[in-house]
Symmetry: C2
Subunit: 332 residues, 2 copies
């Protein structure tokens, strides 16, 4: 199978919203009048972001999901994406499920493949995604990292730390019962981009980011770009690890080999969560609850924004918890 | 140096045309009213598209140049780009010249870096580029591959085959004098995207493509998508190898070790030329000449479009030349 056959067989479908899709020198997009285009780009490398034995269907899902998560954090409606793919070989047994996983998620979000590149090389998946953000009365409705205000509530969507738990299990540093392992692996391999929540939070949230490098690391970007500080209740955050809830329900939590400190660590610095971390004024608590309900996405209030810079971690008793967490860094 | 330092030091500059540049979950672009966004994406892999000893300044140039070349082929004005970079390590001695080469070309075209991703992995450079195409009276001014008409002239810009000659010299399959080698290497390492010509050809050319996989291979895409055939004068094409002109000027051409067949092969199937191959009606010959002059880009008429499908190669005497050429294919 040659390069052009490969593109034709797995990655060419008729253009829908786009003026021109796969197959020319460029694709053509015409954003609706009064909108901005939100653009994000993520590169996934074998051996760093995923292992060689990763199920290609799930990998197709994840490669697009991490990009859609950036659109969600911006409050942008997914429109289209390009895919650049370096492959060690043209292998039908890999390409067929990879493209199926990719298109299954793309179709679920009405996000169209409009172009890309295919080449030989160590497996590398680079997706650039395009979304639409309305401009109302000259004001962009995009959610930025820079809008958090002192006094705002701090929220996070969904669950935290389970992807990291799956990684630790696969590394052999911890062991958990089969159903916990399976659920955690699903979170690691097929994260859910919180697109509907991001859209529902337009005009409600003051700042947002998606949690990819760990909750506190990504919170640091909001604090830095907004010029504010924050206080986080670490015990509430720790309850957001889905695996922990499993133990609470099925057995005595203290009977597991995972310590309270480790649950907290997973929640605060696990990484690969692809949840939305966002801020909103106290006056918008009802609106946030409505947005969560409308988007069928649980959100939890985990702290507040402070006028004074700096990050304070408190436990449920209001005692300070030392901040030993750093954000994931590909080159650290 | 960590990931965020690296991005800050080498790849963060204030947004200019873009609403929002590097540093949030998404960048924001707002295309001018009445325009379409042309989007293209190219991935360069070490060991496949370039060698590990390639000068990083020149590599920064080339990585963007091959993308700008796609915009040129579409008649699009460069606006912005994203850069995803997988690096084996964070190395200042590589990153500084790479970013300088990249921004030198970007600035020359007013094309702004608005976002991207940086990660660890085998060296891989993936750029997605955005350009603007006007829509006039509901008609897109984009140059497509599908518009060639029977009777149209067939043109190519600049020179052909020199990048491939440089590759062959580096492989040791042929040797040439030092000045020829130097000039050929420059063409391979720092191709010139024909952006000004692409813009000047709007409303003149009926179809266009950039020559990256070899003249005849890329011509095949125009013929297939336009549903037409073509006749190419191979002897005219062979004169477009710049190295050949050097021999013609400085010495007896027949004294070189490169045969007439080889000059023709270089021109027709060399690859990595990043010239524009385009068609235009015979009635537009003067307009094509004016566009070439205005954009300071030489163009040469090398054949014509035929109603009947199929590709015919003729020499200067009008004798048929067998078509033994196939397009470059990363997986063939």
């Amino acid at each position: 199978m040659g390069e052009f056959d490969l593109i034709k067989r797995y990655f060419t479908r008729p253009a829908r919203q786009a003026i021109l899709g796969v197959g020319d020198d460029c694709a053509l997009l015409q954003p609706a009048p009064g909108t901005q285009l939100a653009i994000s780009c993520d590169m996934l490398v074998e051996g760093h972001h995923f292992l060689s034995m990763t199920d290609p269907f799930k990998l197709g899902h994840k490669a697009l999901a991490v990009n859609l998560s950036d659109l969600a954090a911006c409050g942008a409606k997914p429109l289209a994406f390009t895919l650049a793919l370096a492959l060690p070989r043209a292998d039908d047994a890999w390409l067929a499920p990879f493209s199926q996983g990719l298109f299954a998620l793309a179709d679920a979000h009405g996000c169209e493949l409009i172009g890309g590149d295919t080449t030989r090389g160590p497996l590398n998946i680079c997706i650039t995604v395009f979304g639409e953000v309305p401009v109302v009365n000259g004001q962009s409705k995009a959610l930025l990292r820079s809008g958090a205000q002192a006094g705002d509530d701090l929220y996070v969507s969904g669950t935290l730390g389970d992807a990291r738990l799956a990684l630790e299990v696969s590394r052999g540093t911890v062991s958990v019962p089969a159903p916990v392992q399976e659920a955690a692996r699903c979170r690691m391999e097929q994260p859910t981009p919180r697109v509907a929540l991001g859209l529902a939070l337009r005009s409600i949230a003051t700042a947002a980011i998606d949690v990819s490098d760990g909750l506190l690391g990504d919170l640091g970007h909001i604090l830095q770009q907004s010029g504010v500080g924050a206080t986080v209740n670490t015990d509430i955050a720790a309850t957001l690890v889905a695996a922990r809830a499993y133990y609470t329900k099925t057995s005595n939590l203290s009977a597991t080999e995972i310590s309270p400190d480790q649950w907290r660590d997973l929640a605060l610095a696990g990484g690969d969560d692809y949840e939305l971390l966002f801020t909103a004024p106290v006056s918008k608590r009802k609106a946030v609850a409505t947005a969560a309900l409308a988007s069928q996405t649980p959100v939890t209030r985990i702290g507040q924004i402070d006028l004074e810079r700096g990050l304070h971690l408190l436990d449920a008793q209001g005692q300070a918890v030392p901040n030993i967490y750093t954000s994931f860094d590909h080159f650290a």
